[in-house]
Symmetry: C2
């Protein structure tokens, strides 16, 4: 275990000078710097971030709080965040807070309190008041991706708008009996992604004078969830809708599979539109509103770096662009 003193001795300078040369602070003559660098390389010296943290208080580590790892959006975001953090020379400590797990509270109460990070990125997190309290009392910058809450800068897309856009696409094609498949309906339609997407659907329907026709089939935000809901929609022969506005592409693809399996033609008998730009969308020719989670991951890291560098201009909420991609799961309804 070679320390900085070894490097210093080998380069014939003091610990202080070696430190300066290595970390790049203060005055060091170019010659000395080279000598120190050479010595360090020679004995394979790597600074102990630990010891450095102890004195500087900065850990070169960022905590990432994420509810799921195994869903497309979250996986993409995580990879984007990881890449961006590495580029800034930061490690990433993962805190997987699956909702309803006992470990979730343990993370908030115990692990976060250790403050082994310079800042925190939360992804798609809808914190309880207590959790938010703990987060803010960490005395470290916190930024959020895919969700907005009090006192925290964020990067996200306009979930209401994307769902509205998707629904309006269906309305524009002439559909009137449009059903929305998505998450549970809760009292508050702004606290969750699926809530906001339900709201976008409702807004579009209301604005088109179809307010009385709205229909919401709740489902998990997963492919199997969409499948189950799709089966339900399709088997409802009496008043089968002519189109589905799904809260996400995973749900939409599930619905497509359900329709095909039941012999319902897509889009001839049933149009389906999703939201996300999932990697499966193209394969299923799914019409969808695309977003770019990877880029959002990079953006939220930038936001955090600003905060860490003291370049924080109060609380900001960045909205990333999205775009409608029309493929072949949507068409005019049969007259």
């Amino acid at each position: 275990m070679s320390g900085i003193s070894d490097v210093a001795r080998m380069a014939g300078v003091s610990k202080s000078t070696a430190s300066r040369a290595l970390t790049g602070g203060g005055y060091v003559s170019e010659a000395t710097r080279q000598r120190v660098l050479e010595a360090a390389r020679h004995i394979g010296y790597v600074a102990s971030t630990n010891a450095a943290s102890l004195v500087t208080g900065r850990t070169k580590n960022v905590g990432v709080i994420i509810p799921f790892v195994n869903r497309w959006y979250f996986g993409e975001v995580l990879e984007g965040v990881e890449d961006a953090l590495l580029a800034c020379d930061y490690d990433l400590t993962l805190y997987n807070v699956r909702p309803g797990t006992p470990s979730r509270s343990r993370i908030f109460e115990h692990f976060l309190a250790r403050k082994r990070f310079d800042g925190v990125i939360t992804i798609g997190l809808d914190p309880s008041p207590d959790e938010l309290d703990r987060l803010l009392s960490l005395d470290r910058p916190v930024v959020s991706l895919g969700a907005q809450y009090d006192g925290v800068s964020s990067v996200a897309i306009d979930d209401v708008a994307v769902s509205r856009l998707a629904t309006e696409h269906l309305i524009g094609l002439g559909h009137t009996r449009i059903v929305h498949i998505g998450g549970e309906r809760s009292a508050d339609l702004t606290g969750t992604v699926h809530g906001r997407r339900l709201r976008g659907y409702l807004d579009a329907m209301t604005d088109a004078g179809l307010g009385a026709e709205t229909l919401h089939v709740p489902s998990e935000m997963t492919l199997p969830g969409g499948y189950a809901a799709g089966v339900q929609v399709v088997s409802n022969l009496r008043s089968r809708p002519t189109a589905i506005s799904a809260a996400s592409d995973e749900v939409a693809v599930g619905a497509i599979v359900a329709a095909r399996r039941t012999g319902v033609q897509v889009p001839a008998e049933l149009s389906i539109v999703g939201v996300d730009g999932h990697e499966y969308a193209e394969m299923f020719s799914l019409t969808t509103v695309e977003q770019s989670p990877r880029e959002q991951g990079v953006a939220v890291v930038e936001l955090l770096m600003d905060a860490l560098g003291g370049r924080q201009e109060s609380t900001t909420a960045l909205l990333h662009p999205t775009r409608l991609v029309v493929r072949s799961t949507t068409a005019r309804p049969r007259t």
Copy 2:
């Protein structure tokens, strides 16, 4: 920022005693311990793991090296590992080494060298000689999941056996024209998961006297990859096989979608079997050989904890059980 001295002062003891009471080492009277604990709770004291690491050399942190986050198997494993690590009071630092990314070498050369962990878990890693070298020279325990390499204990399934089992299931049903869809064929059929699964298929075919009939369509180990390969298989009208042995469930589901889309009946005209026990398998009624990545994640953490606790009994290679689950994508071939 309250330190241990504050706790000590408040409890009316020395720093040493406070430390003993808090970390549970050495002699402390029960009364004193309670007093210290109470004081710590009162001022919300949380020990700086950083400072502790500096003296003990243990970080209470584990590095996890993973090539993908966004594939089912890896996501499941990661969640299992995270859960198990939290239970042992360890943090998880994520190193996402996507193959071919420039960040991959940076991680091996720079980030790992910082040694901010007590041990390393590699997931499905096929390290280059140089990478393996760097890994072992870290002087920290390394354990591997889903891949075996020199000098490292591992947890995995028998990838050759599962694929052989899946293929034998098809052979048992009477199929002879069976094609394998899976990863690139490389010179060495043991270094990668898809290589070993290809080998299992080849072994089963050869043992059944069908050695001359083997056919391998390479594809990415993803759903779109399986779709593309499936299209290719299905459109080959002259000598269409009666069954597909897919290297993974994602590939198998892709092939199912391709078949349905082309109007080929599954399983009437084409049987398809996968490997993994993917969350989509049930929804597609896919016959498959199930494994349990989550449990494997837990198991590999146990292995690492043994190594960290000095209970390492040389290098072990645990094989986890798998089982064939017959659903309805496989049937006897039409005569």
